[in-house]
């Protein structure tokens, strides 16, 4: 029994010595030790590490050509363990990076969504602003149009009013001018009438003193005495007043225009009108005899206007 123990101890000692001699194996061992103590590879390739460890440990008792092969295989085991650990580490790193990327991508998506919402809100706001701007512009345009229309209308009205006023003024001016013209004419007529009346002269005839009133004292075709003639009848009254005791004969005459009967009536009416005027001026009616002679006693030809004018007359005769 003791011999057996001694043999075993010797075997162990010999193997220890032979291992000590092999520097390459030590190098491999150190490389393996360094590898398995590296923190980042600790969790990975446990199976490959165990295989490498076994292979390396087995080398201590190998010899010769077999040993070279075993060393190569052990080195390959170590390589495989390292690569497997690296792969495990990379796999983990990839997973972690992928997780980080997912997290970042999620945040990115959220940020993009938030930005998209903001963009949409902004776009909506812009649309609203544009709509309001368009509405405001439309309203302003409408207001401007209304104002322009109003101004145009006012201008038109003003123009129309102005034109109306001008027309009215012109009309008034015309009326005034006409009135003035009429007044002038009337005045001229009155003046002419007055002058004619004042220029009346008495003629001595067989029947007595006679004063002849032209037809200018009557309205045309009528027996109405003109107001001017009435107002300027002083000359006639002076003539009559000079002979207060004499009877007065008033004869009306016409031209030959128109019917004889009509002319007779017109001449009578004109004689009567003068008679009434004399009565109105204080002459006694008994002194006056008004006679219509018609067209029967012309003093001039009825073939000319001048002759006809002379024939249309009223004669006031102060009988002898």
């Amino acid at each position: 029994m003791n011999k057996m123990v001694i043999v075993m101890l010797l075997t162990l000692f010999v193997s220890y010595l032979s291992a000590k001699e092999n520097l390459e194996l030590e190098s491999l061992r150190i490389e393996f030790d360094n590898f398995i103590t590296e923190q980042k590879y600790k969790p990975y390739a446990k199976k490959e590490k165990a295989q490498a460890k076994s292979a390396i440990e087995a080398l201590y008792n190998q010899r010769g050509e077999v040993k070279n092969h075993a060393v190569y295989m052990a080195r390959n085991h170590l390589k495989k363990a390292k690569l497997a650990a690296e792969a495990g580490y990379l796999d983990q790193a990839l997973k972690e990076t992928e997780a980080h990327l997912q997290t970042v991508n999620m945040k990115t998506l959220k940020a993009e969504a938030q930005l998209a919402r903001m963009e949409a809100d902004r776009a909506q706001l812009l649309i609203k602003l544009h709509a309001e701007e368009a509405e405001r512009a439309r309203q302003e345009k409408q207001n401007a149009l209304e104002l322009a229309n109003q101004k145009a209308s006012e201008a038109e009205m003003t123009q129309a009013e102005l034109e109306a006023a001008q027309a009215y003024a012109k009309a008034q001016e015309k009326v005034a001018a006409l009135a003035k013209e009429e007044a002038d004419l009337a005045f001229a007529e009155i003046e002419a009438l007055r002058m004619q009346l004042e220029s009346l002269v008495a003629k001595e005839t067989d029947a007595g003193l006679m004063m002849t009133l032209g037809d200018f004292v009557f309205d045309s075709g009528s027996a109405n005495l003109k107001q001017a003639a009435v107002d300027n009848f002083d000359r006639v009254m002076q003539f009559i007043s000079g002979y207060p005791g004499r009877k007065i004969r008033i004869e009306g005459h016409t031209d030959s225009t128109g019917s004889e009967d009509l002319n007779q009536k017109l001449s009578q009416k004109r004689a009567d009108a003068v008679k009434q005027l004399l009565i109105k001026n204080g002459i006694e009616a008994e002194r006056i005899n008004a006679v219509g002679q018609g067209e029967s006693h012309p003093v001039a030809t009825n073939n000319t206007e001048a002759g006809k004018a002379k024939n249309r007359r009223v004669e006031i005769i102060l009988l002898k």
Binding site: L12, H69, A70, N76, K80, L83
Partner: protein
């Protein structure tokens, strides 16, 4: 009683030594080498070709160089009838292929991680720009 007290630690020491001895014997045993037959090389050749035609070739050129060289040696060993050498080379080539594949995988993952980090960085910048627009 006293004898009992002396023999118990001795027995425990023996058990420990026995375990250590057995472990040493296991460790001293030669590494398990793959078993090969006449088709092993051709299967290995097909495997290598497949790897050469994959993205692994670009991702692990050094390993591919070793693999190609070892495949030549395996072919030679097969031709010479050196079964042990062929078996060792076959085992090494298979292991190299695994290493190459792992390296390619790590390279891809590294590239993917770089791209992912770039993406994350760009996403963060974009997020910051967005957040700056927010009230």
């Amino acid at each position: 009683m006293k004898q009992n007290m002396m023999t118990k630690p001795l027995q425990s020491l023996k058990k420990a030594l026995l375990l250590a001895f057995l472990s040493t014997l296991i460790a001293c045993s030669p590494p398990t080498v793959v078993e090969i037959n006449d088709n092993t090389y051709y299967q290995l050749e097909e495997q290598v070709e497949a790897v050469k035609n994959s993205q692994v070739a670009d991702a692990a050129p050094l390993e591919m160089k070793f693999i190609t060289e070892k495949l030549q040696r395996a072919k030679k060993a097969k031709a010479m009838g050196e079964k042990r050498e062929e078996a060792r080379l076959t085992q090494q080539i298979r292991s190299d292929i695994e290493v190459a594949r792992l390296r390619a995988k790590v390279n891809r993952m590294n590239q993917a991680l770089l791209e992912k980090r770039d993406e994350l960085s760009a996403a963060r910048v974009y997020l910051q720009q967005l957040e700056a627009q927010l009230p």
